[in-house]
């Protein structure tokens, strides 16, 4: 496997700030993830009201992918491989609370739909019409070696021409997203070292 691939773009979202390729692109002084997410979304100026129905994890994933793939012409054959530590726990807790109260028992379908880790990947797929391969891993920290191998494999076997890889973690206001695009042409080689640098 001597093919060389490159990390062509990266987005990091944390502490209510968005970085694209290492440069700060957007920040806000509001506190709390949801107000930040709303402003970051409005900053994109896209017409996609379904954003407001998503849970926090999906909003985070959606924003990361939107900033990453903005102005991208060719979106076919982009595969999507994500991971996090908490799964969909933040929303799981909300759903759990709604079925715990015997006297006020009204579980919400809109909440339940998000009680799976990979729905956030599904939201990205719907938005960008990615009908390619997708996977979602639950790991206590970003599995750089596994992700590198997986992305290389998808590209080598021509199952995809590019791969969005990354970490989208959200639990009770503690969050971090690191998303990067792996492709055939670029300057930063797709290696574990370079991947780990994104997480520093």
């Amino acid at each position: 496997m001597n093919e060389k691939y490159y990390i062509t773009r990266s987005v990091i979202i944390q502490d209510n700030t968005i970085f694209l390729n290492g440069k700060m692109l957007f920040t806000t002084s509001v506190s709390g993830f949801l107000p930040f997410a709303k402003q970051a979304f409005q900053n994109l100026q896209i017409d996609y009201p379904k954003f407001y129905k998503m849970d926090a994890l999906s909003k985070l994933a959606f924003l990361s992918a939107e900033y990453l793939l903005q102005n991208k012409a060719q979106k076919e054959d982009i595969a999507l491989v994500l991971a996090n530590a908490s799964g969909s726990l933040d929303t799981d807790v909300k759903h759990q609370k709604s079925i715990q109260d015997k006297d006020h028992f009204y579980p919400s379908p809109a909440t339940f739909v998000y009680t799976l880790a990979n729905i956030c990947a599904g939201e990205i797929a719907i938005r960008h019409q990615l009908q390619t391969e997708q996977a979602f891993f639950v790991f206590d920290r970003y599995p750089s070696d596994l992700m590198k191998n997986y992305a290389d494999y998808l590209l080598d076997s021509q199952k995809a021409t590019q791969v969005v890889c990354g970490w989208v973690e959200y639990f009770q206001e503690k969050y971090k997203a690191v998303l990067y695009l792996v492709g055939q042409v670029g300057e930063t080689a797709h290696t574990e070292t370079h991947i780990n640098e994104l997480f520093k």
């Binding site: 129905k53 919400s108 809109a110």
Partner: protein, 85 residues
């Protein structure tokens, strides 16, 4: 009936997270699904929960929702006729 309709519009906006829409933007006979407010199947299920939670009406078949949720007017009519709360 008028207050019920206004109340419904407000509840729908908050329950369905319709961020950029005001009560004034929704007309009584606007289609809620399809081209109107663009609600989808999960929204329909949320409205079923709303009927139960706020008005004590239990629907057993999701297909009943299609006729009831056509517009604010049809929703209000149905609630008036069937509410237990």
């Amino acid at each position: 009936m008028a207050t019920l309709k206004e109340e419904l519009k407000g509840k729908i906006i908050s329950v369905l997270n319709l961020e950029d829409i005001d009560v004034a933007d929704i007309q009584d006979s606007d289609p809620l699904f399809g081209d109107g407010l663009g609600l989808d199947s999960i929204d329909a299920l949320e409205l079923i929960v709303l009927l139960d939670k706020e008005y004590g009406i239990k629907l057993s078949d999701p297909k009943q929702g299609k006729a009831i949720f056509q517009s604010i007017q049809t929703m209000a009519d149905y609630i008036e006729a069937n509410r237990t709360k």
